[in-house]
Point group: C2
Chain length 140, copies 2
Amino acid sequence: MDLKRIAKDTAQVLSSYLTYQALQTVLGQLREMDPPQAYWLNAFSSRANIQDGEAYVQALLRERPDLAYRIMTVRQHIADEVAEFLPEMVCTGIQQANMEHRRQHLERITQLSLSDSQLARESEDDSDSGTEPNLDNLSN
Amino acid sequence: MDLKRIAKDTAQVLSSYLTYQALQTVLGQLREMDPPQAYWLNAFSSRANIQDGEAYVQALLRERPDLAYRIMTVRQHIADEVAEFLPEMVCTGIQQANMEHRRQHLERITQLSLSDSQLARESEDDSDSGTEPNLDNLSN
């Protein structure tokens, strides 16, 4: 397992995601203060590839440097405020999610084996009570 | 800006991404040790939605609990090893990327204004040297 490469890739994905969150923040601000700009930025962002944060900023810099600078400032701010809390949130989150998955899985297989044994008991009961009643007798 | 919500969403995206990395790790191991299993897991993962890590694990638990447990263990391990380095990597990464974007942008607008002034000087030179030479003279 190449943990160094995984850490590097994860940091890049994270950085692109924070760029996306910065865009959403700026869009929200513009929708209130300057709807035509919000409209333009929204249209641009649905054309440009926001999956790659750096390519997105680069493309925006060419068309609207003022908005690109604003998004760069906001993403730096978000990173500075949010990043320090992420390790604990992610580690605890995964730990709890794993526990919950294991619990649900155990519950499911226990229910399955319970209903299996119930089925087994019911079929035993059936055999105790003999064969099924003969419906032909009803017509008599 | 709702930093609390952003932190929560980011942690979830991160957790899903680490699930994806855990899947890649397990796939790599299986390709070496047990290719048919790797083939099955790869086919399953292209059907299931890996974008949502928890939904993916839940779906895999129903079909192949052994593989789901393995991926859960690996993602916990990756998170424990990698998460603590992410804040600095992301903050420094964004800072450096922002600086680099600003530098490139400044360079571009400086070159543009340089070539503008060059164009202006050239057109001045042209007007100094008078009108274009009359090509009719060449035929003489």
